[in-house]
């Protein structure tokens, strides 16, 4: 019988603290980027550089959020406790990305902003992703999970659409789609394709080793 070696688990008493540590570390790129930009240390077009930094980190956190389930399925790593923090980090980075665009880039010129959102497909797609993130962020708490029950799960499947929108928005925003954009599109595609494959994989593995080894490792 194959036994997948379990990675050393974090003692339960540190779980709460590790989630807060993730929030603290997660905001470092934004804080550091803002410091560099505000003090004139970001090269060239500082506002655009900062805007892009925030967008890229938002996409990274979306990818990380969607990676939690396959990590558990494939490697028995249970990081479910970090998923809410990663999702909310993605949300706050999108908020900051949009705020930077609105305030620093467009000087709150609302006619231009509205025209951008309506007329430029990559901005429309990005905005749609942002709007879909709002209900997910608002329901990322225990009370909403209890309250919504199975509807919570259905609602949070929007994360798949949001991640796809984020990757497409990124690819459409650049002058030439390069390796970096293709990597993010590829990662999101793999993470989304995993979802329909998942039940069959888990069934197959249960048949192989009885139960997934990580369940016993707890």
């Amino acid at each position: 019988m194959t036994v997948i070696p379990a990675i050393p688990a974090l003692p339960r008493k540190y779980h709460g603290a590790s989630v807060w540590a993730l929030y603290a570390v997660g905001f470092i790129p934004a804080v550091f980027g803002f410091y560099l930009g505000a003090t004139g240390q970001l090269p060239g077009d500082a506002i655009k550089e900062f805007e892009h930094l925030l967008g890229l980190w938002a996409l990274r956190y979306l990818v990380a959020t969607l990676s939690i389930t396959p990590l558990r399925d494939l490697f028995g790593i249970n990081w479910l406790r970090y998923r809410r923090a990663l999702g909310l980090l993605a949300f706050w980075y999108v908020v900051m990305h949009f705020a930077t665009y609105m305030i620093l880039d467009k000087y709150l010129d609302f006619p231009t902003i509205v025209a951008d959102i309506a007329r430029r497909p990559f901005i429309t797609i990005g905005m749609a992703g942002f709007i879909m993130l709002i209900p997910l962020a608002l329901t990322s708490n225990n009370w909403s999970i209890r309250r919504l029950g199975s509807r919570w799960n259905r609602l949070h499947k929007l994360a798949y659409v949001i991640a796809a929108a984020g990757a497409v928005h990124f690819a459409m925003s650049v002058k030439v789609v390069g390796p970096q954009q293709l990597i993010y599109i590829g990662m999101v595609m793999v993470l989304l394709l995993w979802r329909p494959l998942r039940p069959r994989f888990n069934q197959w593995r249960r048949a192989q080793i009885g139960r997934p080894s990580f369940e016993r490792a707890r």
Partner: protein, 270 residues
Amino acid sequence: AAALKANPSPFSPDEALTPEKDVTNYNNFYEFGTDKGDPAANSGSFKPTPWSIKVDGMVASPREFGIEELMAFPLEERIYRMRCVEAWSMVIPWIGFPLAKLLDKVEPLGSAKYVAFETVLRPDQMPGQAGFFQPLQWPYVEGLRLDEARHPLTILALGLYGKTLQNQNGAPVRLVVPWKYGFKGIKSIVKITLTDKQPPTTWNISAPTEYGFYANVNPAVDHPRWSQATENRIGEGGFFGGSRRKTLPFNGYGEEVASLYAGMDLKANF
């Protein structure tokens, strides 16, 4: 980069220069990579000497110009605004000479209507031209109408900030056409061809709906994905320098060049 002497010229706006570190570290030169810092980081092994430009096509006396001959033209310092199609801008003290002076030496034929330019192809020295991912078709090609090429504002630049060009800025010789978007300023030129047909241009081949042949700076014609009405002046103190300004038609050179396009629909010929 070696020191390069030049005479001052009347073409110098009363505007603050963009700091040299921004001019030499924030570049679009996809032959060295697509990020703005790539050209400065990846152009170390590029050899700008020896160098020559071949001038051929519809000319009475086709010939090659060695870099020493180019350096021997009377050089002027031209302080020009540079407006990138990505909606940022700089003010750069170029050193160079009018392209018309070079064209005079080869005697264009009456049939010549356009000037085609070509960048060097050196995958071994230009990492963006090598490998699996190629962002554009190489060699980079550009073109001007003959009257645009002969306009006194159009220069071949050999230096900036009192020194010869650094590799990331298009060493050893590049085109500068200040009323057009920056991508028209083809870098590291090896070939200039006079022709009677509108020559292909790299960005137009890559995305014809986004980049036209003329590419005159025009706040009234948006890029499909962003507005061209305003621009962000580089190097004016981070986020809060108030550096966003209105973009001017022909990048502020309308008085000198608008007559070149009299009667043309500049929305159709973007």
